[in-house]
Amino acid sequence: MDPSPPTDFQRVLEAARRGEDGAWRALYLAHAPAVLGYLRAQRAVSPEDLVGEVWLQAVRDLHRFTGDEGGFRGWLMTIAHHRLLDARRAATRRPVEVAEEAGYTAASSEPEAVEQVGAEQDLHRLLDGMPERQRTVLYLRYVQDMSQREVATLLGVSTPAMKMLQARALRALDRRVRELDAADAQASADAGVGALPFDPEGRSRH
């Protein structure tokens, strides 16, 4: 049986094993946003710092990784998850006063950045109130599109246990969505009663 030709990812991975800077840059740009998004969804205090630590560990331990691109992303998420837990444990031992809640501001004033922050706030509204493991399962399964086995490995549980956790998380998400819909509908109704003929932000309603 002829071996399948190496994919682009495999070529990049081999180059990264040899220590080529360009390969690492490609891997970083392809996967760092997902890692940062996960840490932000988990309300990490310093997600950018944790992303840097994740990639340094990935550089040191790349020789232990084998798999495809999906496995590489899952491997990065596992490192990020463990780093997050370590940071939380360190924070409980040495409480750090945070000037503001870990609600992230836009990196720039560009519309895309503003929209991204808005979406992030919506994401937090969806996931708030859930236990951490349920949030982790929902985010990794439905936002990062990881498999059940990968998520189970990351959490350190069996696949059946992960499925039960996912089922509970989906029920919680469903309840949360209905609550938000009801709240938004009420807010819209209230807003409609006292609505101004123009949008204070300058956008015309008509």
């Binding site: 220590g19 800077d21 690492w24 840059r25 970083y28 740009l29 760092a32 946003p33 997902a34 940062l36 998004g37 932000r40 969804a41 950018e48 992303v51 840097g52 990639w55 340094l56 550089v59 040191r60 992230y104 990196a107 720039s108 950045a113 929209e115 991204q116 808005g118 979406a119 992030e120 919506d122 994401l123 509204r125 969806l126 929902l138 985010y139 439905y142 936002v143 990062q144 599109d145 989906l170 998400l173 469903d174 949360r176 969505v177 938000l180 819909d181 938004d184 819209s188 807003a191 949008d199």
Partner: protein, 250 residues
């Protein structure tokens, strides 16, 4: 007005989560340069460490290559020297010993079988130290004691058969159970000797019940038997010994 997460009607909760999550994925442009610089520094450090460790690692690899060879040499030595020596000494497990004996016989080398090895290893017991002419002296004979040297028989019986395993000319030697070859026990009980009571029967395997007892070498002695022998009248020379031997036979 803030856009509601519920802006897509009919959307399932998981679809909404996926959409919102994808939109919420941040960019890394503001931190990419710092992170990539850190990655580059780490790669340089790893290359430097790897270059410095290369001679040590090659030494380790050489030693690691030597270790399996040493194990192989030890295995060959064990197979060629130790095992044959153990086979010649007859100390291998029985199945292995038999197989080794058969194999060695094919090449003309004698390797004892397990049974033979056990026989030669057994301590040689001086069953008979006197010939058929020896008569029981009737002397009281103490129980055999490994720490007490057995007294020699004044008749020189102790001198007979002193070489274990080598019978004297004319000597009739029985087996270790006291049975003289050639028929039933050739009891030499003295006429008129009273048989010993069952209580005085020795608990040890009867020794040479058909032979005149040897004060120096009888193995049938036990505290009770020796007491019986000591209480035997002087006239019944050999009777007690024979009686003990007879009772032992019974």
């Amino acid at each position: 007005m803030r856009r509601s997460p519920n802006s897509h009607v009919g959307e399932s909760p998981t679809d909404r989560l996926a959409r919102v999550g994808a939109a919420a994925t941040p960019g890394v442009e503001h931190v990419a340069s710092a992170h990539l610089a850190a990655i580059e520094r780490e790669l340089v450090i790893m290359r430097t460490v790897a270059a410095a460790d290369a001679p040590a690692r090659s030494r380790d690899r050489l030693q690691q290559g030597r270790r399996p060879r040493a194990v192989a040499y030890a295995a060959v030595f064990a197979a060629l020297v130790v095992m044959p020596s153990m086979a010649l000494a007859g100390v291998l497990p029985d199945p292995v010993q038999r197989a080794a004996s058969r194999f060695a016989a094919n090449v003309g080398v004698h390797v004892p079988l397990p049974e033979t090895a056990a026989e030669t290893a057994r301590p040689q017991v001086d069953d008979v130290t006197r010939g058929p002419k020896d008569v029981d002296s009737g002397k009281a004979k103490p129980a055999p004691d490994a720490t007490v040297p057995e007294p020699s028989n004044g008749r020189g019986a102790a001198t007979r058969g002193t070489t274990p395993g080598r019978p004297e000319p004319g000597e009739v030697r029985g087996n270790r159970y006291g049975q003289v070859p050639g028929g039933p026990d050739r009891g030499t009980a003295t006429p008129g000797a009273k048989p010993a009571t069952p209580a005085s029967a020795p608990s040890t395997p009867p020794a040479s019940s058909g032979r005149p007892s040897d004060p120096g070498g009888s193995k049938s002695s036990s505290p009770a038997a020796s007491a019986a022998m000591s209480s035997a009248p002087a006239g019944t020379k050999g009777g007690a010994g024979n009686a003990s031997g007879t009772s032992a036979r019974d």
